[in-house]
């Protein structure tokens, strides 16, 4: 009753092919954007902005990158952490070598470097598939982290191997990295980058490139027969996915933790992001965000819950319970909806279209 396409007439092809064809969807999206841009920076405390919103957004971007590769193109990759590390270290070397370089340009360049590295490690995908490809990317993961640990050139010969972000500003005035950075400036910068890249990703997957990826994912031999070139398509998937992961890694290192060593991008990180896209929904842009929210925010909520409910529970008990509840919830959600939270959302919308009628 509330949520229908009835009465919405499209007058142009562009309107017909819009991302959100239903009016209510557009309004919801605009409201969400308005809230994100106007309400959160004003109402959110520093804690919220710095430890909840920024990690959520950065991880959503990384999950988006991995979803492009694994969800849309079907190439299972466990090298996400390594690619994030490439982005972080590339940005570090660029900003320390070229002090005048704008942070946005630095991020884009670092993303491109990561894309090239991604292409390099994507070559085995032409021969290996499925779980075994995941293992090839694991080799990339371990090798990259080892490399950043081993060669002092990457961390400018410091004694400990930790790279730390030099202060950089956008529009000359608003610092987004370094000590003087205002949490709100940081948050808005990350939000803008993520939204722009998500929009680009949505466009990609709805177009020819995305269709080629999905064809390769579903049946690569058939795809090859109808003229989709596997080499190009797969390597393009690796390149774009690594671009996204590289930028996510750079923002993680520069904006969130401001000092990072290679071991922050270990195998655990890769698994974490893979979990996000599986829980959120493979092959779905919204799914990347939902999965990131689930994996990043739920543990924080579970850790803080006893205190909010005024219960005095010793910290290690809280952590263990949190682990248990988290694991149980993962299994629960998988039983309820194996295709991820995005599918749950889609089902919800479908039910809403029929509401108040059951079918």
């Amino acid at each position: 009753m509330l949520y229908r396409e009835v009465g919405e007439l499209k007058a142009s092809y562009a309107a017909d092919q819009a991302i959100f064809p239903i009016r209510q969807d557009r309004w919801l999206m605009l409201a969400a954007l308005a809230a994100a841009y106007l309400v959160v920076p004003v109402a959110g405390s520093e804690y919220w902005l710095l430890t909840i919103m920024i990690p959520f957004l950065v991880f959503a971007l990384a999950a988006l990158g991995l979803n492009l590769l694994t969800g849309y193109a079907g190439q299972v990759s466990l090298g996400t952490g390594g690619f994030m590390a490439v982005g972080a270290f590339a940005t570090y070397k660029l900003t320390t070598a070229l002090p005048g370089l704008n942070i946005v340009l630095a991020l884009l360049l670092a993303g491109t470097i990561t894309a090239l590295v991604g292409v390099l490690f994507g070559f085995p995908s032409l021969r290996i598939k499925g779980f075994y490809l995941a293992v090839a990317t694991l080799a990339a993961q371990f090798f990259l982290i080892w490399m950043f640990n081993k060669f002092p050139w990457f961390y400018n010969y410091s004694a400990s191997g930790v790279i730390s972000a030099p202060p950089r500003a956008v529009f000359g005035r608003f610092y987004v990295t370094g000590a003087e950075a205002d949490p709100r400036a940081k948050y808005l910068f990350v939000l803008t980058v993520v939204i722009l890249l998500a929009l680009a990703a949505k466009g990609l997957v709805r177009g020819r490139v995305g269709r080629a990826w999905m064809a390769i994912r579903d049946m690569d031999v058939a795809a090859e027969i109808i003229g989709i070139r596997p080499l190009r398509t797969k390597l393009l998937a690796f390149a774009l996915s690594s671009f996204y992961c590289g930028i996510a890694g750079a923002m993680w290192a520069f904006i969130h933790t401001s000092a990072v060593e290679a071991s922050a991008f270990e195998i655990d990180r890769s698994f974490e992001i893979l979990f996000m896209i599986i829980i959120g929904g493979l092959g779905s842009i919204l799914g990347s965000f939902l999965g990131a929210a689930f994996i990043v925010l739920l543990p924080i909520f579970l850790d803080n819950a006893p205190r909010l409910a005024a219960l005095e529970i010793p910290v290690n008990l809280v952590t263990n319970l949190q682990s248990m509840i988290f694991g149980a919830l993962i299994i629960f959600f998988l039983i309820v909806e194996p295709n991820g939270l995005a599918r749950l959302w889609a089902i919800g919308k479908e039910k809403l279209r029929l509401w108040p009628f059951p079918h």
Binding site: S158, A179, A259, S263, I335
Partner: protein, 442 residues
């Protein structure tokens, strides 16, 4: 579907309960100290006694003295699991608690320290990285809010060389010998390398490096190499399971345990326990004493454990890491006391506690008053020197207890200060920080 609806109902109830809940309130006249701890996860065996020692001391001071200068100490623990992100999250959540905010923060992890330095400096909350973290933060002109007392890794490396020099009959006897370092291949493990390399050039010994990839559960290749190259002395910079595996590895190749000396984070009961008898003779550095035979530890037993409110069991009081937690608390509370001397006996802000730390002067009489003779050495900090003049002692595991086997060793402060300054100034340049002028700071 029914399952899902039940879940939604449950979630709604949960949100209602937690949404309406209030945060813990603190009394107005309390000094708040956030406690970043790890009581679970891979490093828990080392994190738990440290955390227990710290809060037991706080409880004892509250119980025996009514706090510091009449101001009770309130604390809240937050589990970091030795994870940098969680450490940052804990810090952000706790930094504004209590009437004056967090007075200081002990990250208890080199990684978390690095992540917090910038934030805490901007928030004006001192970061106390006792015996870990950035060694070059000892140069307080560049790092006003970071304190590395009583000794850093570089100081420990130097002291270790001095110790084996003593054992060999003089530093000149080290020429031509082979000294190896088994280290975990992360930031923490690599810290001493520059110092040991510098000293190898100065004293003429061959420096052999044996990196172990984290987490170090499999080290047979490393120990085969050690057996092949036979270094005369072996140091270790490990943490967590790497320590116990390394000690077992050394035992399995028959390396003489009394020539195997670990850093102070590689010398505690959880490290030697898995190796059993084979670990007897293993040594490590220390900047404080082990055991229960100190006035302050006895007070803890009396005022906390006799009243059945300790955080661990009586027999674990006095373990190496427990005592380390205790002296961490002692340093922190002494800094608060020093700051109260200037700002008055009330809950203090981070800035004021920073002043207290920079003017910390624990004299030998104060050490006796605290009941810490032999547990810690007198120490004195200043604007440019955030490390104090800590000394290092070597302790040895005899199969049942850790015991000191050397005197307090003074590291080469001149050389170290030069190294700190050089590294800190390079950091300042990279970050665009202007170092403070310490002569002008009062």
């Amino acid at each position: 579907m029914r399952l899902f609806r039940t879940f939604l109902a449950g979630a709604a109830v949960a949100i209602a309960v937690f949404g309406l809940g209030a945060d813990t309130a603190f009394a107005q006249n309390e000094q708040f100290i956030p406690r970043l701890v790890y009581r679970s996860g891979p490093y828990a065996p080392n994190g738990i006694p440290f955390a227990d020692g710290y809060v037991d001391y706080l409880d004892m001071i509250n119980s025996r003295d009514g706090g510091v200068g009449g101001v009770r100490i309130a604390y809240e623990e937050c589990e970091t699991g030795y994870n940098n992100d969680k450490g940052v999250e804990c810090y952000e959540r706790l930094k504004n608690k209590g009437p004056t905010g967090a007075s200081l923060v002990d990250p208890l992890s080199t990684g978390i320290t690095y992540a917090l330095i910038e934030r805490a400096t901007a928030d004006k909350i001192p970061v106390v990285s006792m015996g870990y973290g950035r060694a070059d933060a000892s140069y307080g002109a560049v790092f006003p809010y970071v304190f590395t007392l009583p000794a850093t890794y570089w100081a420990q490396a130097d002291a270790l060389i001095k110790y084996i020099g003593q054992q060999e009959g003089g530093l000149d006897k080290l020429k031509g010998k082979k000294i190896g370092l088994v280290y975990i291949d992360i930031a923490y493990g690599k810290e001493p390398i520059s110092t040991l390399e510098k000293l190898s050039q100065k004293l003429g010994y061959t420096f052999l490096k044996y990196p172990v990839s984290a987490p170090g559960i499999e080290q047979s290749a490393t120990w085969l190499q050690v057996r092949q190259q036979r270094p005369d002395w072996l140091f270790m910079w490990g943490w967590g399971v790497m320590n116990s595996t390394a000690i077992k590895g050394a035992a399995s190749i028959g390396y003489p345990m009394d020539h195997f000396v670990g850093v102070w984070w590689s010398g505690s009961e959880p490290d030697v326990a898995p190796a059993g008898e084979a670990a007897a003779g293993y040594k490590s550095g220390a900047f404080h004493g082990p055991g229960q035979d100190y006035g302050v530890i006895k007070d803890i037993l009396k005022y906390v454990y006799d009243k059945n409110s300790g955080h661990t069991t009586r027999d674990k009081v006095g373990e190496v890491l427990y005592n380390r937690g205790v002296i961490n608390a002692i340093y922190d509370l002494e800094a608060i006391r020093a700051a109260q001397g200037k700002f008055g006996k009330k809950p203090l802000k981070g800035e004021e506690v920073q002043w207290g730390y920079e003017h910390l002067d624990i004299t030998p009489q104060r050490v006796t008053e605290l009941g810490a003779d032999g547990l810690m050495v007198p120490t004195q900090l200043s604007c440019a020197n955030h490390e104090g003049n800590g000394e290092v002692r070597i302790q040895q595991w005899d199969g049942k207890h850790w015991k000191f086997v050397s005197d307090w060793i003074k590291p080469d402060r001149e050389m170290l200060t030069e190294m700190y300054k050089e590294s800190a100034l390079a950091y300042a340049k990279e970050k665009g920080i202007t170092p403070r002028e310490c002569e002008k700071v009062m």
